[in-house]
Every structure is written in structure tokens, then in C-alpha cells.
């Protein structure tokens, strides 16, 4: 069954690619073996075949031959079908092989393999041998990746339940997606939030349940000059205002806090302790960070940072 279908589809592609004029459905049935005799049954099967070819990306064109009153016909223009000439130097083919491995085990693995197959068919020897010592991978563990990639690719608005940071229940959100970005290993989508009327960034791992399309393909217009990477970076980066702080660190401990210190010196009259000057921007985050070093650190100033750390520690005992 499947074999006969493959044979029929192959003949159909060859037939339509060789045609210089549009071929009518009847002409196609006469030329391509494997279609049923009944015209209705043929039509149904032919419709399905056309869909399958289009899904493979084969440019099946419909039209009427000029100078004739013929019914509409079909053909596959060579120009639109054929991969243009591409030649790669050995070092270029090597990085191509490396790139194809990035998606292995991730959402676009099949697409990457398919692309490599076509490029090999174009004469490129994209070797899969490892370039000395580098192994790149991306993962798309989030279920939302696939529908969001489709939405971005096809310019369709989407809707999803989203659990914003710290929120106890998810909310239904509506988004015109502009792009999908992986920043430091996490996937985000950026676009126009149509509920808020503002540009927003959402983290895929915080989406709860399915992503649904809520508009036809082509209905999202990405504003000119949009830089989704920048949008995600801005969303993810701490505000730049830096405040000074003074910490007391146990000597030889709390390396994580010393890494970004401005100055450190032994604390006078407190053997075993250092006084360390630091800067920070987000008080809440920095207080959490300090709390994680337990009894190796005490905040001297500012007072709000000191209070925030004490609050965190008391929370442990609450």
C-alpha cells in the first residue's frame, strides 16, 4: 500500500516537473500509473496527493495555459523546485556538519537531518566527524516550543495560560509572537501582548497547558526594526542602578560574594573576618544571595539590605 503510494507520488512529481505546460487532472491521470479508474475516486486521491506534496515543500502550481480555454491545470516549475547551486569548502562543510548536530534530540532534529540530506544530494560532503573537541547541543524540553515556533514562522497569534513569577494561579494571555529566543539555555517568546497592548516577553517553561493558535497564518505583522534578542535581554537583565554595600565576610569563605567585590580588607578588631565593599542593584535578589552564605556573612549596611537578609533567615525558621 505504502509502496504503491510512494511509486505514484514519485511518478507524479517526475511528470509535473517535466511538464512545460499546465497539465489538467485528466492528463495527469492518463500519464501517472496507479490512480483508480473512477474519476471521483481519482479526484479524491489526487487531492490528497497534492496536499502531501505541498507539505513536503514541493511547489505545486495551479494555472491555465495561455491561449487556451482549458480548465485549470498543474505543474511544478523547475526554478521553484530546485535547490540553487551551492558549493562549500571543506572547512565550511565541517561547520555545517557541526551545526546539524546542535538540534539532535531536540525539536528541529528532523528538519536539520532533512536539510543535511538535501545538501548532501547537492554534492556537499558535510562530514559528521567532530571538529576537534567541540560538541554543541540545544534542547527544547518545553512543550510550548513547537507550537510557538510554528506561530512565529507562520505569523499567527497565540493564546496560552501563563504563570508569571510569584503568581499563585496561571492567567490566560494573548500574544502576537515576533520571535523565539534562547538566552543562557532558557527559551523565551517576545511579541505584542494584545491584552496589555504592550511588548512583552514570556518564558516558555512558565506556560501551563497547550498553546493554541487564535488567528490565521500571516495575520501577525512584526514591526520594522524589531530586535527580539534585545527585548529578551532587557527583560532578563537586572536594572543598571548600582548601590554600594558593606559586608562582613568570614575569612576564606563566601567566595561567591568576593568575586564581584570592590575592595576587601581584614576587619579591625574582629579577627577571622574581612570587611568587603560591594555593589548591587536588586535588593531582593542580593539579599537572597547573601542569605545563601549563611553564617559566613553579615550585612553592615545599607539597612534595607540588612533587614531583607534577616527577613529571609527568619523565614527559614517560620
Amino acid at each position: 500500500m505504502s509502496r504503491r503510494k510512494t511509486e505514484r507520488l514519485l511518478s507524479l512529481v517526475v511528470c509535473l516537473l517535466s511538464a512545460r505546460r499546465y497539465l489538467t487532472a485528466t492528463q495527469i491521470r492518463d500519464a501517472v500509473p496507479g490512480y483508480p479508474d473512477s474519476f471521483d475516486a481519482f479526484k479524491r486521491m489526487f487531492e490528497r496527493d497534492k496536499d502531501e506534496l505541498r507539505e513536503l515543500g514541493i511547489p505545486l502550481e495551479t494555472g491555465v495555459n495561455s491561449g487556451s480555454e482549458d480548465e485549470a491545470g498543474y505543474r511544478i516549475p523547475r526554478q521553484a523546485y530546485e535547490l540553487p547551486e551551492i558549493r562549500l569548502e571543506p572547512d565550511e562543510a565541517a561547520v555545517l556538519g557541526l551545526a546539524a548536530r546542535v538540534w539532535r534530540r531536540a525539536e528541529l532534529a528532523g528538519a536539520a537531518a532533512g536539510a543535511l540530506l538535501k545538501l548532501r544530494a547537492a554534492g556537499i560532503d558535510a562530514e559528521d566527524t567532530t571538529q576537534p573537541g567541540i560538541e554543541p547541543r540545544l534542547q527544547t524540553g518545553e512543550a510550548a516550543f513547537s507550537p510557538l515556533w510554528e506561530a512565529v514562522r507562520d505569523a499567527r497569534p497565540v493564546s496560552f495560560a501563563y504563570r508569571a513569577a510569584g503568581r499563585s494561579s496561571p492567567q490566560q494571555r494573548h500574544l502576537e509572537p515576533w520571535g523565539v529566543v534562547n538566552r543562557h539555555g532558557r527559551w523565551y517568546v517576545a511579541g505584542q501582548d494584545t491584552d496589555r497592548g504592550e511588548e512583552r516577553v514570556f518564558r516558555l517553561s512558565r506556560m501551563d497547558g497547550p498553546v493554541t493558535f487564535c488567528g490565521p497564518p500571516g495575520s501577525v505583522k512584526v514591526p520594522a526594526g524589531t530586535d527580539v534578542r534585545k527585548a529578551v535581554r532587557a527583560w532578563d537583565t537586572e536594572p543598571p542602578q548600582q548601590r554600594p554595600g558593606l559586608l562582613r565576610l568570614r575569612h576564606g569563605a563566601a567566595h561567591g560574594l568576593r568575586q564581584h567585590a570592590i575592595s576587601q580588607a581584614p576587619a579591625p578588631e574582629q579577627p577571622g573576618w574581612d570587611l568587603v565593599e560591594v555593589t548591587f542593584s536588586d535588593t531582593g535578589w542580593y539579599a537572597d544571595h547573601i542569605a545563601s552564605f549563611g553564617a559566613d556573612v553579615a550585612v553592615i549596611e545599607p539597612a534595607d539590605l540588612r533587614d531583607a537578609v534577616i527577613g529571609r533567615l527568619k523565614g527559614v525558621l517560620a
Binding site: 548536530r101 543535511l116 540530506l117 559528521d128 573537541g133 512565529v152 529566543v181
Partner: protein
Amino acid sequence: MTTDAPSRDAAPRPGTATDRLQRLLSLVPYVISRNVVGLADTAAAFGITERQLVDDLNMLWCVELRSPDPYCPIDLSYEGGEIVVSQAESIGRPLRLGTDEASALLVALRMLAEVPGIGDRSALSRTIAKLEIAAGSAAAASAQVSVQVDDRAARNVLAEVTDALRQRRRLHLSYYVPGRDEATERDVDPMRLLVVDGRTYLEGWCRRAEAVRLFRLDRVLSVSRLDVAASVPQEAQPVDVDKGLFRPSAQDVHVVLELSAAGRWVAEYYPCEQTDDLGEGRLRVSLRTPDTQWVRRLALRLGEDGRVISPPELAAAVRDDAIAALALYA
């Protein structure tokens, strides 16, 4: 072409009629674009058996169009194990790249171009340019997906590490282990650079642990190349990146945490074995770890937004830590 390699990156897919059609349409141009093509090599390149390949070739050869006059558009032979296509009619070139296909490669190539110190940046930009031209309009959507690689590692760290890999030299690392808040000193024989999910790691044989270890480059405090050739022992097993970099083992401690809505991020950052929704945004997560030191620090950071439920000794240790820390403010 290597014999078994290409089949490995072909995604496992069911053998539907259209999958096979795609292969058949690639097969003819594959043969035409090469001077000498053997059955064995070709089967390996397509990830199929020689028998399947012969069946594919027969199917191509058998294509017959019946009208206006019957003719066979494809003529080929594979006598003596060498494939020769003498007539290919219209399918002599491969099909254009689809949007997903072009995007998968372009996004990956652009990601690689971002890895600092990857070395072959010129080959990457040349390949990207050529692929964009060949893909035409199918390349456009790829601009809407991008991967930003963590660049917080110091430039000189990457340069030293990549040089050491290239020259197969031993490295001395001063490496920060945040879970234990320790700066450690160790000699490492570099094996590979892993760029996984936007982070760069050095994989190497750690001479202190006498085991393969991963070192996140942004945690390397300082690095120097030693005047010693790297010697990675035979038994060193590279990490299987496709199975995940960090895998729990049977000896690990089983930890259960309860998180408030504000503490849910923990489930996104750490590989949890199980997560249970407790309602109102609360979550119970369980994870396995060889070293609970970092969990203590995590619990202090979480305050009232996360609580260690099990093991009880760990919960008690966290309370003791908090009491000791609060005593500093007394």
C-alpha cells in the same frame, strides 16, 4: 564520507510513503553530483541498508509515464556496486530547503558563531552567507529564532581552554564550586568543549578526582596552560550529551522540597525527578543529588518560599544554619 556517521544524525522517523519519497528525490542528485558512488557508501549516507537502497534504485528505474507516449524517464544501473545514473530527466537537482530545514541549520550556525573562541568564525560566516542564498525565502523565518550563548566566561579563559584543546596540553584550573562555596585548584586534561543550552563547559579528565568532570567556564576563576602534554586515560568516558549532562545516580540523596509560588523557579532551574502541584501555586519537588551542601544554601536563599521536607537531618541542618546566621545580627 565516513560510513556510519551520517545515519546517526538522521532523526528516527517512521518510514511513511512521503519520507521515502523525500529520500528517492535526494538519491538521484546525490549520485549525479558525485564522480564515483558506491552502494555501501550511499546506503550509509542515507542511513539505510544496502538492500533498501537497491529497492529504492529499482523503484526509480521503474518509474514510467504512460502519456502522451509511454516512456521511462530515469535510467540507472548499479552493476559491480557502483551506481551510475545515465538519465535523470527532471529530478537531477535536490528539492529546495523548507523553512524548518533552513531555519534549523541557520539558527545552529549563528549560535555557533556566538561561541567565543570557537576558532573557525570565518568558515561559519561564509557558510551562513552561502546557505542564506541557497535557501532564499525559506531563510527569512530563521531570523526570528535566536540563541544567545552565555558570554560571562572571561575571554582569556576561553582562549586558554581552546588553545589547550588544540595543542593537547594540560591545564591548571582554579575553579569555583558554588554549591560548596569553594575555590578549588586542579589539573585537568582537556577532552572537549561542550556548548549545551547556551552554556560552555570544559570536559576533561580531572587529575584530582581521577574522573571525567565538567567545568562551567564562567566559574573558572583562573586558568593556565601547563608545559605538560594532556594524557587522558583510556577508561575516560566522554559524557553522553544527548542523555543530559547531569544524571542522578543510585547513591544520591533523595531530597524533597515544598515551594511557594515565589519559589517555583527552583523547578525550572534544577532537574527534578518529580513535581506535584499542591494548589495555590505551591509545588512539591523531589530531586536526587550526590551532595546536599548546595540544597542547604538553596533553602537559606528561599527563606519562607521553600522548605526542606526530607531528609529530616537536612531540614535540621538548614534551621541550624539560619540560627547561626541570625546570631551575627543579635
